[in-house]
């Protein structure tokens, strides 16, 4: 993956550059018009955020049970990416809402649960940074609970009354809308993989540095 990092970064960059062309060519949605096109990157960002939160939860659980440092590296990398993609979702969603609903924010189930999920990822990072010795296990437990929130975020639009579009929107997309959507999703997923690889590498280097300090003390 490390050898492929730069070529994949170039591909992801090219896809990001071409995505607006595809989004511009996609047909307008009948009720929302132009602003609905935020969907082409808002929804994939949300999907990546949920994926990152799940990866963080699973790797944290593996770390709690097996104490494998590799799992902890994956957990902290995915927690940062949950926070990053969560920030993107929290910023792009209100831009859509203001035009489509007339308000920047509403405390409806989908929005509130997504906000809570994002807050949990930030809490994980704060615990890791400031809680001192043992913070890795404390944060891992937090991440497990954070990932338990993911299915609820996903089903919230189908179970409770909400203004947010339902999950059925994506499978029912007409081909002219599905193309740009899955293209944007692929670009964002590639970006997620690249950032994840880079962040895990950073964590591995930090662990190696700690080992060097320990060896020096001995």
């Amino acid at each position: 993956m490390r050898k492929a990092f730069v070529p994949l970064l170039v591909i992801a960059g090219a896809m990001f550059a071409y995505a607006p062309v595809m989004i511009a060519q996609a047909p307008f949605e009948s009720t929302m018009g132009l602003v609905q096109k935020i969907f082409y990157y808002h929804a994939p960002s949300g999907m990546i955020m949920l994926l990152a939160a799940l990866v963080c939860g699973v790797s944290s659980a593996v770390y709690l049970w097996g104490r494998k440092p590799g799992a902890d590296h994956v957990a902290i990398a995915s927690a940062e990416l949950t926070a990053l993609f969560g920030a993107i979702v929290m910023a792009t969603g209100p831009l859509w809402a203001k035009k489509a609903w007339g308000i920047w924010w509403d405390w409806d189930p989908r929005l509130t649960m997504s906000f809570v999920g994002w807050m949990i990822s930030l809490a994980y990072l704060f615990v890791r940074k400031y809680a001192g010795p043992g913070s890795d296990k404390l944060a891992a437990a937090l991440a497990v609970f954070g990932s338990a929130n993911v299915p609820f975020i996903y089903i919230s639009v189908n179970v409770w009354r909400t203004m947010h579009p339902k999950t059925s929107v994506v499978p029912k997309l007409p081909p002219l809308m599905a193309g740009p959507f899955w293209f944007s999703f692929t670009a964002l997923f590639l970006l997620f993989l690249l950032l994840m690889t880079a962040r895990i590498h950073l964590e591995q280097q930090r662990a190696a540095l700690d080992q060097m300090y320990l060896a020096e003390e001995d």
Partner: protein
């Protein structure tokens, strides 16, 4: 002298008291809206343009991704510099 001053002062106060309501009446803002009336269509000048929102949203992703990649690169550089410094310091 004292009497003149008192007369002058009371004249000024009386003038202010009499003219104040008129001045305030002139400065009063128009009366508050007493009711809201609905209308079917918003004038085109009142609607929020969608294009800036769409472009702002996409720009946020670019900026966030580039900023995060830069922070990783900066942190990695710091760790690797420390590793090299430690390797140089440690006798083989």
């Amino acid at each position: 002298m004292m009497r003149r001053a008192v007369v002058a002062l009371s004249t000024v106060i009386l003038t202010l008291m009499l003219s104040a309501p008129m001045v305030f009446a002139l400065q009063q803002p128009p009366g508050g809206q007493t009711e809201f009336l609905p209308m079917k269509e918003v004038p085109p000048t009142e609607t929020i343009p969608a294009a800036p929102l769409l472009i702002a949203g996409y720009s946020i992703i670019w900026l966030a991704a580039i900023f995060y990649l830069w922070t990783i690169w900066r942190r990695l550089n710091k760790v690797e510099t420390e590793m090299h410094a430690l390797a140089r310091k440690t006798p083989r």
